[in-house]
Amino acid sequence: MEALEMYTVDDRSDVYTEELKLNLGPQHPSTHGVLRVELSMDGEIITASRCDIGYLHRCAEKIGENVTYLQYTPYTDRMDYLASMNNNLAWSLTVEKLLGVEAPERAQWLRMICAELNRIASHLIAFGTYGIDIGANTPFFYAFRERESIMALLERPSGARMLYNYIQPGGLRRDVDENWVTDVLAFCDDFEKRWAEYNTLLSNNRIFIGRTANIGVIPQDVVYACGATGPVMRGSGIKWDLRRDVPYLKPYEEVDFDVPVGEGTHGTLGDCWDRYWVRMREMMESIRIIRQGCAALPGGEVMEKVMKKMYKTPLTPEAGEAYMRCENPRGELGFYVVAEGGTSPIRCRARAPSFCNLSLLDSLLPGTMIADAVAIIGSLDIVLGEVDR
């Protein structure tokens, strides 16, 4: 007891705390890539945060000005590398808008099926890695098992597992094989059972809810002000989905699906759990879309005849400009292309959803605990390849 009393301080005037600068990343597993966040800490509470991006910058927009329209398609794969199909689709639709052509009907339906399959694969990564961020390792392996089946399915027509370069301006590179649709439907049946397992495993887990409910609440006005889209927007209760509200593919007008939004089930509307739950339900909506797409898949060509002729020389759209928005797994991807009559555009801007969603972070982190920072970054579901481009 004597020894303890020796260290007891009565006079606390010389006990002080000082602001601590903490670097989160760039090499940190929970930053989902190479994101650096400079945090000012007061004990365990964040007082200020500053994002530092650009570690993965490849100047994709400059490349776009130096290659032809068709050659740029593989570069769009590498922006959001977890949802390459959707990026291909957005780019193809932009070029088609510039050229004034439209893909044949079969290609449109196949595009929708492929894009939705890729959306499930992308949300599976979001689900799996979010579990790891919170401290649950098991869901990750479950998620990768199902993702593997999707990659195998998409590999069959495209020949690649992740960076597909399958959807091209004017249609698709080649048709799917005859058993593909049957296998996709078999996957859908399988996935529905697995999805129920995920919810027992993570969604309704008490610790997980404790870590995510009431954390990182994004009010609706902040969503609009910061330009957040996709599941981040819907998690805050805004019922908006480009697929439903501004259908960019004809099949989206014909299929029946819901737009899940956050409801504040376990706490405040717009918290991390709401965003997570929106993604989970979107997977099931994608399954619904795929089922209807497979049932209604028409026959015919997958590449426009006019385009086949056009491809003999590099595509040369007339002078003009087009802005096209598409609903990607992470939000609205927009391509803004300015053509001046040459074989490559003079400006090729990509409005990346992750970039805009990440700009929320600096206003979201101050006042939260350091352990919640990881949960908040994970709930935004960013891909740094797309943020830095």
């Binding site: 400059k62 003009g320 400009e321 928005r325 927009g334 803004y336 300015v338 003079i346 700009s359």
Partner: protein, 216 residues
């Protein structure tokens, strides 16, 4: 509302400096003077009929005569969108490193903050009265703006060489070019048989480990 109705609505405000609706390009757009940009943006956001809640995208385009700064506005409650453009002509006699300047709209739409920083970083367009005007993707010390048409890729960044040939991967002797490898005779296995892994140096295998001194 379609673009024509939005344009009529904008004209009815009485603000000067609002151009015609250009629909010759694929996507129609309205050219706006930089002096009224903030008023136009604030009107489009606050009016209950236009209700442009989100500034979706900010882009700058370099043309031969100057720069276009393009704003894509979207309404989520009214399901319409409008493209605004500010055209900054390059004054005569200005050099290639001339920096155009437009007012920042970050005070009306906070989402413009990062977009404007990116356009400054990559294209060198100044946004006056921006709350946090820094580069965003490239390092602060970077010189030049890479998306400019006349940009020359630098040979060094500080003391770091950037050219591909600056660091030789291997020394190559010009007099002794590498020979193509001999074709493998049919039937020989790709991997070497285990007998090659002899400890005797004269057998062509690995030399035995030297004995450690001072340890026993």
């Amino acid at each position: 509302m379609n673009e024509q109705q939005l344009h009529d609505k904008l004209r009815a405000t009485g603000l000067g400096g609002i151009g015609e609706l250009e629909s010759s390009a694929r996507d129609p757009f309205v050219v706006v003077e930089a002096s009224v940009l903030l008023e136009v943006m604030a009107f489009l956001r606050d009016d209950s009929e236009t209700a442009m809640e989100m500034l979706h995208n900010v882009t700058a385009v370099q043309r031969e005569t100057g720069f276009d700064v393009v704003y894509h506005l979207c309404s989520y409650s009214r399901h319409h969108s409008l493209t605004l453009k500010v055209i900054v002509a390059q004054p005569e006699g200005e050099a290639g490193d001339w920096e155009p300047a437009v007012p920042s709209v970050a005070s009306v739409y906070p989402s413009a903050n990062w977009h404007e920083r990116e356009q400054w970083d990559l294209l060198g367009v100044r946004f006056n009265d921006h709350p946090d005007f820094r580069r965003i993707i490239l390092p602060e010390e970077w010189i030049g703006h890479p998306l400019r048409k006349d940009y020359v890729y630098p040979s060094t960044f500080g003391e770091i060489p950037l050219e591909l040939d600056a660091i030789p991967l291997y020394e190559r002797d010009e007099n002794d070019p590498p020979k193509p490898s001999e074709p493998r005779p049919a039937g020989t296995p790709l991997t070497q048989p285990p007998s090659e892994y002899s400890t005797r140096p004269d057998a062509g295998g690995r030399a035995p480990a030297p004995e450690k001194k001072g340890e026993s």
